[in-house]
């Protein structure tokens, strides 16, 4: 049984991600954010549940849809908004942006603009820990589209061949841009691929934050006992288009409605209210706090300077 504080913490993380993405979309429309921005709407339970089960010494590797992972791992909202709006105060000094957001202080090795590329990078982080004999795991977020890429297979096999402390969280949001998963593979139960490599693999409800948390905690235990790697396929649904400028019209209305009825924040709220008897007021307080924090972060970013072109050119000359 989980404490109210613990559950409220999960809800807080999920709510933060939701508000963060909502504000980012708005900033994008206002022209303060450029390039690609892939919102994490509908998948919040996965980042929150996974990161709650990880320990401070663990690593995560993120994806192009990476704001949620960064937040759940403890990323600073001010430095995140500053990064996504291209400021010098951003966690990557405005050089990375949304698609490359990284925060090594929290063990977040970074998002990636190349689908699937984070998988072997995470294998390497796990390998380093294994060589040094340290009690750490590398949890790698990846996606259904990436599961069809070569490095997914190679990475999983490499990790399995060495029994590395490696947890692959496959966020199956059922779409790669506009291509539904049933169309890009004859075996849409993606966790089965892990079984083929001798990897403990399971499919769970990715919209249920407690299911995600529990399965990840189990995976961490398995890894520390030397029975890693573990593959967790968390089934979810992308609530919206692929990126800010994609209306996602190809997504069937009924399915979208169905998954909205199973919205991860709603599920978390129900658990809090019904099962542990938290009250609406307490949740409203959390939401108000997060809203204020978000306002401050946006304010901080928009008032912080852009990088100096001269300083950048001096750096560039050294390459």
């Amino acid at each position: 049984m989980h404490s109210t504080e613990f559950l409220a913490g999960l809800y807080r993380t999920m709510y933060t991600i939701r508000v963060f993405e909502t504000r980012c979309v708005k900033l994008y429309r206002q022209g303060a954010i450029r390039g690609y921005l892939h919102p994490y709407f509908g998948q919040e339970a996965i980042a929150a549940g996974v990161c709650a089960a990880l320990r401070p010494q663990d690593y995560i590797v993120s994806t192009h849809r990476g704001h949620g992972h960064c937040i759940a791992r403890g990323g600073d909202l001010k430095r995140m908004v500053a990064e996504i709006t291209g400021r010098q105060a951003g966690c990557c000094k405005g050089r990375g942006g949304s698609m490359h957001i990284a925060d090594l202080e929290t063990g977040n090795l970074g998002a990636n603009g190349i689908v699937g590329a984070g998988v072997p990078i995470g294998v390497g982080a796990a390998m380093g820990a294994w060589i040094r004999g340290e009690d750490r795991v590398a949890a790698v977020f990846t996606s259904d589209g990436a599961a069809n890429n070569g490095v997914f297979a190679e990475g999983l096999n490499l990790a399995a061949s060495l029994r590395l402390p490696f947890i692959l969280i496959l966020e199956n949001n059922q779409y790669a841009v506009s291509t539904p998963i049933e169309q890009s593979t004859a075996e849409p139960e993606l966790f089965r691929r892990g079984l083929g490599y001798g990897v403990l693999s399971e499919r769970i409800d990715g919209n249920d934050v407690l299911a995600v948390y529990r399965k990840t905690a189990e995976a961490v235990r398995a890894c520390t006992q030397g029975s890693g790697p573990v593959l967790i396929e968390a089934v979810t649904y992308r609530q919206g288009g692929h990126h800010v400028n994609d209306p996602g019209q190809y997504m069937p209305k009924e399915r979208l409605e169905y998954y909205r009825s199973r919205d991860p924040l709603r599920i978390a709220k129900e658990i809090l209210l019904a099962r542990v008897g938290a009250n609406e007021e307490a949740l409203a307080r959390i939401e108000a706090e997060v809203d204020r924090e978000m306002d401050e972060a946006v304010d901080f970013a928009l008032h912080s300077p852009e990088p100096s072109v001269e300083a950048f050119l001096a750096e560039a000359a050294a390459y």
Binding site: Y59, V61, G90, C91, C92, K93, G94, R95, G96, H100, A102, D103, L104, E105, L109, G110, N112, G113, I114, A117, V119, P120, I121, G122, V123, G124, A125, A126, M127, G128, A129, W130, I131, R132, A138, G150, V151, E154, G155, N157, L158, S161, L162, A316, Y319
Partner: protein, 342 residues
């Protein structure tokens, strides 16, 4: 096994040095650096028990064990990527890619990941990854095992490109590569593994970005790297018999490029031949020529000569193969054209 043969009794070897093989020099660099720094580990295909296809990693498994000398699956993209991840998190991986041709399978991890991490993270992350590989033609290995692909890596900001031509340089440059924090593509040459040269007994490193005058001269500068250095030296010997005093400048590392020494030599000799084994089109030689003409135009007494590989895949047949790659006679002819401005 021949790797521990040390020719210290050779009368021509200066005190404090031995004559050893190129492949032994690399083995020594790995062994000594692995003893010094426990974050260094090796990954590659058949590098453990077998000691690698060219015996570079012979006996390292015995000394350092299976966690520091890892035999990988045949999966270049993922073990190179694992090198990137391990490097970001504090290790110093040395990834061996058997042939530079196979690095093509790992290009995303090298170019989009390793080369970009430090930049994209605003300096938070470093990738002290050394990718050891080998290239070049000369053994009838045909089109997929003989290429000289350094230009692909030279083109990418964020990578260092090292191309040693002697055992001394190979050992010293590998040590330096393992003591700095950027990704390095360390390109050996398959024809050099069994060549010998003097190497000090004590510890030393050769700083990256320092070209080396392998033969001083006043009449023409021959710029080369990797397998083309020995052919350039052979050409210089013949030129000397004809009264032409050629300087042979070995770049040793293409990135960083020692522009200063290149320009210094050109300003002394006023004539330049650049020799590259790789195909002519889009090669490093063209870029060096553009630097020279921009920075030392007024010194040039004749057009810059480029001796390069033919723009073709490497054929299997040995006669055809050698027709694709610069030979000593090609270098000789180019140097004469430069000197006599014919």
């Amino acid at each position: 096994m021949a790797t521990t043969v040390k020719d210290s009794s050779s009368p021509s070897t200066p005190p404090g040095q031995r004559t050893i093989l190129y492949r032994e020099a690399i083995n020594e660099a790995l062994r000594e650096e692995m003893r010094r720094d426990s974050s260094i580990f090796l990954m590659g295909e058949g590098i453990g028990e077998r000691g690698g296809s060219y015996k570079v990693t012979l006996d390292l498994l015995k000394e350092f064990g299976p966690k520091r000398v890892i035999d990988t699956p045949i999966a270049e993209a993922s073990f190179t990527g694992a090198g990137v991840g391990a490097a970001i998190t504090g290790m110093r991986p040395v990834v061996e890619i058997l042939f530079i041709d196979f690095a093509m399978l790992a290009m995303d991890q090298i170019i989009n990941q390793a080369a970009k991490v430090n930049f994209m993270t605003g300096g938070q992350g470093h990738v002290p990854l050394v990718v050891r590989t080998q290239g070049g033609a000369g053994n009838g290995l045909a089109a997929q095992h003989s290429q000289s692909l350094e230009a692909l890596f030279y083109h990418i900001p964020g990578l260092k490109v090292v191309t040693p031509s002697t055992p001394y340089d190979a050992k010293g440059l590998l040590k330096a590569s393992l003591r700095q924090n950027d990704p390095v593509i360390f390109i050996e040459h398959k024809l050099l593994y069994m060549t010998r040269g003097p190497v000090p007994t004590g510890d030393y490193a050769v700083e990256l970005g320092q070209a080396d005058v392998k033969r001083p001269g006043n009449d023409v500068t021959i710029i080369a790297w990797s397998g083309m250095v020995s052919r350039s030296l052979a050409a210089a010997e013949t030129l000397a018999q004809e009264g032409i005093d050629a300087e042979v400048l070995d770049l040793r590392t293409l990135v960083p490029l020692d522009r200063e020494k290149v320009l210094e030599s050109v300003r002394k000799t006023d004539r330049v031949v650049i020799v590259q084994e790789a195909v002519r089109r889009g090669g490093v030689a063209s870029d060096i020529a553009s630097i020279i003409q921009a920075e030392a135009f007024d010194y040039l007494d004749s057009p810059i000569e480029i001796v390069a590989g033919k723009n073709t895949p490497i054929p299997y047949n040995l006669a055809l193969e050698s027709a694709c790659v610069p030979q000593t006679t090609d270098i000789l002819a180019a140097a004469k054209r430069a000197v006599y401005a014919t």
